[in-house]
Symmetry: C2
DNA sequence: TAGATTGTTAATCGATTAACAATC
DNA sequence: TAGATTGTTAATCGATTAACAATC
């Protein structure tokens, strides 16, 4: 079978996406500071990157600059927000409302870029049915309905490792398309579901490697 | 000036270190399951890696396998723990004891690999002086003494963005050599201090990029 | 126009993978 | 020994960087 006309498929490197996210935050700050234009060199210098890399990252998506000038801050910001999907609201399900879930709920910075926790999922009888800042807490057995009505595609998983796979299966069945997982366990999801693990142990162990090495 | 005899400096890729951490956890599990040996192919298959990559990752540090057999699980586990610095206890300072700090304190999995929270730092008058599971909570102004007496080299930063740089400066002055930062801000540290940022916004924005793209 | 900076091609660098002699 | 699997070299792949014509 023939592939779709691949006019947008030159396979974007993951690191490019991550840098676009960094550029976007920088542009938001520049705009606040009243700066109108910025060159790829200026932008690169702020993050110890190469200016060619900045231009190449952007070139995957179009031509946004003006030769001799650079990039218009607010224009580029808007383009990157569109590319990253930050030009709309993303309702998010927060699954697990223990210490970590609560911390993530109050984490400032999610909201700023259009992510809005629309429902909290927790099976604790003392929590189900309550609201937190107008966000309802529902039990796992009711999650499918909530996800469908609210058209939620993103879930943040902050439950213990033991229950992570079971609740993931239900989330996926209900239509969740992307998962940010904090449970220290390897989840299995269908190929069309995007899974990103935040693995705190790896981060710490990387640090201790360098410390141990410098001890000789 | 001549370099030191570089008999251990072929510059290890960061991704290699991260994979060693993954291998180690797998080996712990295999040992629990009573499995005695494993080949690079077996190990690679569990993580969709290439067997040559597994062997190359290990080859940076020595020859740990037996031709025709593979690797002895408990032997390799011990070697990797030594390489990653997991064959000793690392006292850790947990800085900030709000929702996130509390969640990290109770996070299982740190302790398993030798990281032990030895002191909690928080300036809330209601918290200072108390203990949590025998771990003392101290104020920032007393942190230097604690870090020196307990020989703490690693800090986990779970404070608001506004106070992150100030407390970091004090931690570094007191001798902290590695920082795992959860505050959504760019910290400046001396070159010899290892800094790893956990950036939750980037993770979410990467997810929304792929969702937005698949919407066309 | 002259100076600046883009978008893009070609060169470089580094990491992954294939292949295979060594050897248990 | 024959079969299996390592450690390592060479080939491949992909990402970063340098260089520069195009052009504002």
């Amino acid at each position: 079978m023939a592939h779709r006309p691949s006019h947008r498929l030159p396979k974007i490197p993951e690191m490019t996406i991550r840098r676009l996210s960094v550029y976007t935050r920088c542009l938001l700050q520049l705009e606040e500071d009243g700066i109108k234009t910025i060159s790829s060199q200026d932008l690169a210098d702020r993050f110890n990157l190469n200016s060619a890399q900045v231009r190449k990252d952007l070139a995957y998506f179009g031509e946004f600059g003006v030769r001799g000038i650079g990039y218009y801050v607010s224009g580029l910001k808007a383009e990157l927000q569109r590319i990253l999907g930050l030009d709309r609201e993303w309702p998010v399900a927060l699954v697990g409302f223990g210490n970590l879930g609560s911390a993530l709920f109050h984490y400032r910075g999610f909201g700023r870029q259009g992510f809005r926790i629309a429902v909290i999922v927790d099976d604790d009888a003392g929590k189900v049915g309550r609201d937190v800042d107008r966000v309802p807490i529902v039990a796992t057995r009711d999650v499918a309905g909530e996800i469908r009505t609210r058209e939620i595609q993103i879930a943040i998983l902050a439950v213990p490792a033991e229950s992570a796979q079971a609740v993931t299966d239900q989330l996926v069945a209900a239509g969740i398309k992307a998962l940010l997982n904090f449970a220290p366990t390897r989840l299995r999801v269908p190929k069309d579901v995007r899974l990103k693990n935040v693995d705190l142990s790896i981060e710490l162990e990387t640090l201790s490697f360098y410390l141990a090495k410098s001890l000789k």
